[in-house]
């Protein structure tokens, strides 16, 4: 135990650096994925036939492929097509595409759950399509969207570990490097697991607090 504590103290900068990397990967892909997913969800519900088909194909392909395959494909494929992506960008790209597909389905479900009368009433008072979307539908969708969105955030933090496979120095890869140096395998994997647990627990708690704030009173 003493040995572990000394080693962990020595490695504190590396671990914190890895954690920061994990957090920025997750935050970036959640932000970009949410923007993409909102567009996909709106396209799935209100788009014309061609747009609906494209959005459906995109969502099905991304949701039918394992994240690790997306990460590896985003890492290896761009370079042969003449595009040079750093591992970090390739990883964030893969996670964003994955996240966008899941959020797209969530937004679709939330939009479809809103009673028809809402958009009819909004149209009746003369709002344009974007006005209806922005002022009537999306604010209502937000409420049912929040719990699955929080879940997706947790999933993205977990999925960020897959970037260790393509050499992005996030928490898991840093942990593996530390283990390679001191062979305290169990201790450092447990430490990494605990850090992920704390991060995800914090996200869940924050999500619950947010849900209470936007709940009907």
């Amino acid at each position: 135990m003493d040995e572990f504590l000394t080693e962990a103290w020595d490695a504190r900068d590396v671990i914190v650096g890895g954690l920061l990397q994990t957090l920025s990967i997750s935050a970036l892909s959640i932000l970009l994925g949410t923007a993409l997913g909102t567009a996909v969800g709106v396209g799935l519900v209100y788009g014309g036939l061609p747009l609906r088909l494209v959005a459906r194909a995109y969502a099905d392909v991304m949701r039918g492929t394992p994240v690790l395959v997306l990460v590896l494909a985003a890492f290896y494929m761009p370079s042969v097509l003449g595009l040079h992506l750093q591992p970090f960008s390739a990883g964030v790209l893969a996670l964003t595409l994955f996240c966008g597909a899941h959020i797209g389905e969530i937004v679709r479900g939330a939009l479809q759950a809103i009673p028809r009368g809402q958009s009819e009433a909004a149209k009746a008072v003369g709002l344009t399509f974007y006005g209806v979307l922005l002022h009537v539908l999306l604010p209502q969708a937000l409420r049912s969207l929040l719990p699955p969105w929080i879940n997706t955030c947790v999933e993205m933090v977990k999925a960020s570990t897959l970037l260790s496979v393509i050499g992005v120095g996030e928490l898991l890869l840093r942990t593996q490097e530390i283990i390679g140096r001191n062979f305290l395998t169990l201790q450092f994997y447990l430490l990494a697991g605990a850090v992920y647990l704390v991060v995800n627990f914090a996200i869940e708690r924050a999500g619950k607090a947010l849900e209470r704030r936007v709940a009907f009173r």
Partner: protein, 219 residues
């Protein structure tokens, strides 16, 4: 650009890819089976009368669901030998995925149990069944039918999670695709075919499940 598609290498390696796909399915089925046992036990515990049991179940679910599957897989494969437990790659991966599945399935079965109307178990009690008899003959079958859709989508995500076994060199589909990628540099072909195989399998499983759900109509 200057990249011309050439699927020849992928076609000659197709048996390997399909073998990898089959291995992935086997890993997923094994993990689903063990995970279901864990999940049923956890589900009954979490709605049961024992406070310790409920705490244990919710602790297990919270810990496992908030830990990345890759961390669990690596921990079991690389760290368990330190404790004197040495498992081969496949059994080690199945153990990890089963533990992971068990946590999600505990939630699934808990929801399934809650959805069974209390009148049914009261009726079971009225005709003189024991508590075990009620669980096995009355509540169990109704719950199973209720959780069938969730069980199916868990199976699909488990199948996708078997790709993670590539990280400990289990020769499943992702591992084989990466091998083609590295050996032949047919990068685009390897990944599009692997991805297409995953998608097709997911769709086939989903279609089979819809058939199954039709055969056992809801109560």
């Amino acid at each position: 650009m200057g990249y011309t598609l050439n699927f020849a290498v992928v076609w000659t390696n197709l048996p390997r890819l399909l073998g990898g796909l089959l291995l992935g399915l086997e890993l997923a089925v094994a993990s689903l089976a063990i995970g279901t046992l864990i999940g049923v036990a956890g589900g009954f515990l979490s709605v049961g009368p024992s406070r310790a049991g409920r705490l244990l179940a919710s602790f297990y679910v919270a810990v496992v669901r908030n830990t990345p599957i890759l961390v669990i897989v690596l921990m079991l494969y690389f760290a368990l030998p330190d404790l004197g437990v040495r498992l081969d790659k496949e059994p080690s991966f199945v153990t990890a995925l089963s533990l992971y599945a068990g946590a999600y399935l505990t939630e699934v079965f808990r929801a399934g149990l809650v959805s069974v109307p209390p009148g049914l178990s009261e009726a079971g009690k009225a005709i003189g069944l024991t508590r075990l008899g009620i669980a096995v003959h009355v509540v169990g079958p109704v719950m199973l039918r209720n959780v069938l859709p969730a069980l199916g989508s868990t199976f699909i995500s488990l199948f996708k999670d078997t790709s993670i076994a590539a990280a400990i060199a289990v020769p499943e589909l992702t591992f084989q695709a990466r091998r083609i990628n590295v050996e032949s540099f047919r990068v685009v072909e390897a990944w599009t075919v692997a991805s297409a195989l995953y998608i097709a399998t997911c769709f086939a499983i989903a279609a089979a499940l819809r058939g199954l759900e039709r055969r056992f109509p809801k109560f």
